[in-house]
């Protein structure tokens, strides 16, 4: 769980310190204020200290995710930083783990000191803006040229593909039985999707399908004890298995959560932070409430979440559905450019109404201004 991050002379940031909530963090800001850059930095820091990638080459990871010109690490130093002055990434985690990295614009691909954390962190997840399920088959195809793939997609996409294809340790029904909390989130998700996605990889060919159906509570015929907990079973609609590509894009985005829960790559309490860049993209606004409910449920089970959004409906659902009685905690972080120095700064608050600046609400404000101008002309001006 990441507690704080400080970026100095790195990417777009002159000096940006940010304190994260252990539960849910929502980053807003106009285009160009570095929301995705911030998410990526926190993700890389978590990745490099994770049980899976502990000690990996940080410089290489940074280049794969940010893809600076010429794959040169030095290009990640903020434009305008004097020669010899370091870019710095300083990330602190809840268990006392810390990642500190420094480099200058002269650094090309030189490896940074290897970072080892004790204990290692859970591996984080990053859900990028574009929906990935429909791209998975192409990305993982034997015929695909890996260089070409890497030139199209940054590593957040490729990492997510690997996560989606990680082998399932046990059957989902067994997880539901052993972990009722998992079962509750998973069943709600499947029932809302009105089916479940499945994904298999066989000799380099990825096959995805979507099986319409739902979880229903059924009593076994020979079960006479009414007090026995009844387990829901997935009842597939007969003969309706369809290609995953047929499902609507917004549904596929939620399908990613379902698949990651199912193969335990998303395992609240164990996994590292879940990063999600603009979950609203191509999502029907009506699905937004469900999305927020699921994220809150994951958070209640110990999952730290950091997401970036432009969407009012998403933001508002968090404000409205969060329940302090269930120990929910949401921190809003607004990235903005300082008017005098043009440096990017952050204002964080727990109070939805106190988010300032709030470019999302301001978008509605522009509609109001235009309407007044159309209707009232120069009155009052």
């Amino acid at each position: 769980m990441i507690e704080s991050l400080r970026l100095k002379n790195f990417s777009k940031f002159l000096d940006l310190p940010i304190q994260f909530s252990p539960k849910i963090n929502i980053i807003i800001g106009e285009n160009g204020t570095g929301k995705t850059q911030l998410l990526k930095a926190a993700y890389v820091a978590n990745t490099i200290l994770s049980d899976e990638l502990q000690g990996a080459d940080l410089a290489k990871r940074l280049c794969r995710i940010y893809r600076p010109a010429g794959d040169s690490l030095g290009k990640l130093v903020r434009h305008g930083t004097p020669a010899g002055v370091h870019a710095e990434i300083d990330a602190n985690f809840a268990g006392g783990q810390r990642l500190q990295a420094k480099f200058t614009s002269a650094s090309k691909t030189a490896a940074l000191p290897i970072s080892i954390a004790q204990p290692a962190l859970g591996s984080p997840l990053f859900l990028p803006t574009k929906e990935i399920l429909s791209l998975l088959r192409g990305i993982k195809s034997k015929e695909a040229d890996s260089k070409t793939i890497e030139s199209i997609f940054d590593s957040t996409y490729l990492d997510l593909c690997d996560k989606l294809l990680a082998k399932k340790p046990i059957k989902v029904e067994d997880i539901i039985e052993s972990d009722p909390r998992f079962g509750s989130v998973y069943e709600i998700l499947v029932n809302t999707l009105e089916g479940r996605f499945s994904l298999t990889e066989f000799v380099g060919t990825v096959t995805m399908s979507f099986d319409p159906g739902q979880y229903q509570v059924q009593r076994d015929k020979d079960q006479h004890d009414l007090n026995t907990r009844m387990q829901a079973k997935f009842i597939a609609n007969k003969g309706e298995s369809v290609s995953a590509n047929m499902a609507a894009e917004g549904i596929r985005k939620l399908g990613i959560i379902q698949l990651l829960l199912q193969n335990r790559q998303l395992d609240p309490g164990r996994t590292g932070t879940l990063f999600w860049d603009e979950p609203e993209t191509n999502m029907n606004p009506k699905l937004m409430r469900l999305l927020v409910e699921i994220l809150l449920e994951l958070s209640r089970n110990g999952q730290q979440i950091i997401l970036a959004t432009h969407d009012y409906v998403l933001l508002k659902w968090f404000d409205l559905l969060m329940d302090p009685d269930k120990d929910d905690h949401v921190r809003f972080h607004s990235l903005y450019r300082d008017q005098d120095t043009s440096a990017i700064k952050v204002a964080s608050t727990e109070d939805y109404l106190k988010i300032t600046p709030n470019p999302i609400d301001e978008a509605f404000g522009f509609l109001i201004n235009q309407e007044i101008e159309n209707d009232m002309g120069s009155l009052g001006k």
Binding site: W317, L320, L321, L353, G365, N369, I372, L379, K381
Partner: protein
């Protein structure tokens, strides 16, 4: 310059011909309302138009935000809250218009501006609902004039941004009221 105080706010209408508290309860004042009809808080007159101003200062706007209801009961309460406020704003306008008709003071276009301390998103929803129901414009083929020429719902920041000649400030030590 006409300065009007109402419900904890001070308005300075730089270019107004007249501006006064419309629902005046002080019998000694010449603008005393003296009627069982509802009245908007302020009426300001300009060369080319009348502006009706209604104020609502809320600490908690969530009671009106239907989208955020977490269950049916809550949704109904909030729907009722939103509907109540919309109707309140609607009938205040209509009664005021009728009152002004009797005063023979409806010869210029009338713009209705509600100053409500919601966020912009919720204000746009209120404006849309109100605009349909007031109604704005000539709602019937038989009408030769409109009741309301336009209707706007703005918060304090938006008011000051859009009407620089009519700055509003919140007066100290006064809490909101109806």
């Amino acid at each position: 310059m006409k300065i009007v105080e109402a419900d904890g706010f001070e308005f300075r209408f730089a270019d107004a011909l007249d501006a006064f508290v419309f629902d005046e309860t002080d019998t000694s004042k010449p603008t005393f309302h003296g009627s069982f009809m509802k009245g908007v808080d302020i009426i300001a007159e300009f060369e080319e138009a009348y502006i009706y101003v209604e104020l609502k200062d809320y600490d908690d706007l969530s009671i009106y935000d239907v989208r955020g209801a977490t269950n049916d009961e809550e949704r109904k309460l909030r729907q009722d809250g939103f509907k109540w406020l919309k109707n309140y704003l609607k009938y205040k306008f209509r009664d005021s218009y009728l009152y002004r008709h009797a005063e023979q003071k409806v010869e210029k276009p009338v713009h209705y501006v509600c100053l409500i301390t919601f966020d912009n998103a919720l204000n746009t929803r209120m404006q849309k609902a109100l605009k349909q129901e007031l109604p704005v414009g000539k709602a019937s083929r038989r009408w030769v004039q409109s009741l309301a020429t336009s209707c706007q719902v703005v918060n304090l920041d938006k008011w000051n941004e859009n009407f620089p000649k009519w700055p509003v400030t919140r007066l100290a030590a006064v809490t909101g009221g109806a």
